[in-house]
């Protein structure tokens, strides 16, 4: 479905990606892991078109989308839940969701989509007329995911959805992500919480300083790479909370 080939991207003189290639098939859930600065967000930015890649190709459903504008990639069916949630704080929950539906708006199905979001995230119904900025961190994350889903994406990309959330809320978000996957959404997940992410994904890519270090199933990854050492140089805790 999505195929990234030999992608190079840079910020001014600093090259952030040195030839990254990855692939996601329809219906898959794939994790993109790596430490801070490894190039995960840069990869997402290049896919969405926020950043113009220096070199390489990105094809989505057989169509070249490198150098497309962000507004056209979302119309094509790629939706991003940005890092730090980035909800519109001064807009109400309702308005946030309405903008989420902007790319592929159809009056007839808007109401049913909204109802679906209320089922997935009942809290959003309660907060419908409140300003997004007044929501708690977890609620904002739900709003950000709901907003991304409102465009009916074929591919949903989540950039560190558990960042800054309590463990209980993190569990809830991860359950939700695997729920979305089970409903058939293709998902690319960028996560700091590698252990947790590996529990729910089909495959994973490991990025280090702008190039791919490893790709394969979670089991292979766990076997071949000491994840704790990749991130922190060792952590003996059972539930290795890794930080970036």
């Amino acid at each position: 479905m999505l195929k990234v080939q030999d992608l190079y991207a840079s910020y001014g003189a600093i090259t952030a990606l040195h030839g990254v290639s990855l692939e996601i098939a329809e219906g898959e859930i794939v994790a993109l892991l790596g430490v801070n600065g490894a190039g995960k967000s840069t990869t997402l930015k290049s896919i969405t078109g926020v950043l113009r890649p220096v070199k390489g190709s990105i094809t989505f459903l057989g169509e070249e989308i490198a150098n497309r504008s962000p507004e056209s990639t979302v119309k094509k069916g790629i939706s991003l839940v940005p890092e730090g949630r980035d909800i519109f704080g001064s807009l109400t929950v309702e308005e946030n969701l309405r903008l989420g539906a902007y790319a592929n708006y159809e009056r007839a199905r808007y109401k049913t989509d909204l109802e679906e979001m209320f089922q997935l995230f009942p809290i959003l119904k309660e907060r419908f007329h409140q300003a997004g900025g007044l929501l708690s961190g977890g609620e904002q994350q739900m709003l950000a995911i709901a907003r991304a889903l409102m465009s009916r994406p074929k591919l949903l990309m989540l950039d560190e959805p558990s960042l800054g959330l309590s463990p209980a809320m993190t569990d809830q978000i991860f359950d939700l992500i695997s729920g979305l996957h089970q409903r058939g959404t293709t998902i690319l997940l960028v996560e700091q919480n590698a252990e947790r992410a590996l529990e729910i994904v089909d495959r994973a890519y490991l990025l280090a300083t702008g190039s791919l270090e490893f790709s394969g199933t979670p089991d292979e990854l766990k076997r071949k790479v000491d994840i704790a050492s990749v991130y922190l140089g060792g952590d003996d805790n059972d539930h290795c909370e890794v930080h970036l």
Binding site: V50, S90, N104
Partner: protein, 297 residues
Amino acid sequence: MIDLEFIINTVSLGSLYALLSLGLVFVYGILKLVNFAYGEYIMVAGYAMHVIGQNRGIPWYVTMAVAVLFAAVVSYGTELVAFRPVRTKSLTAMLVTSFAVSVFLQNVVLITISPRARAVPLPAFFSQTLTLGTATIPVRNLVIIGTTIVLLIGLTFVMKRTVLGIAMRAAADKFTTTRLMGVPANLVISATFIISGLLAGVVAIFWVGRSASVDPLIGAAPLLIAFIATVMGGMHSQIGAVIGGFVYGLLFNILSIMLPATMISYRDAFMFVIVILFLLFRPEGIWRGGYTEERVG
């Protein structure tokens, strides 16, 4: 001194300044651009009224409507030709561009029409007055208040109830994220320039209406007022701009009464000094709004 006449005149002046500031803040909110060409949108609307007014057969409301539209078209045109290509460059590049656009428009008029002031025909009610008890009130001032109320309600509706308005508010908050929703950057930016131009056009009618004439430098004074009123009210929200406009109108009328005749020529300087002093203590202005400093890109 504070009688009905003073109140209505102050509210009227404040209304005009509120519209003026609002037009500036619309563009600032999204592009973070202090548009030095804003005064020129007022000027071109004035010249449109002058040119159309040559033909006596055209009714005044048509003249005014065309003038307002013309200001919006020119505003949109400057966005398309000058601001769009430099939008992602440095802030200084954009500021300097707006200054260049201002100089360009002034000199186009200077060359093609005349450096001297030209007459603008106005409907009779612009110079009539109304007597309410002891107060004599220019009809124009009442019209300004009415127009402002209608426009503010209309704009509130657009911003709160239409998708484009929601997208514009979102873009002022987080521009890149708004694009990720599928909202085209150019659409939002063009829309803000058009609204900014429309407001400038409306202001132009009343501004030109004072002297019934227009000259190439007529945009300078309203631009300054918009600057001062917006920084005073708060650059980061439209509410701040409206508040700033009214406060400026009030301050202006109070200074006009209080300053001795010999000092009146220093009035502008006094205004600015007051505002600069005010900003030292409260750089964000009267109204703290929600807009961030994130730039377009």
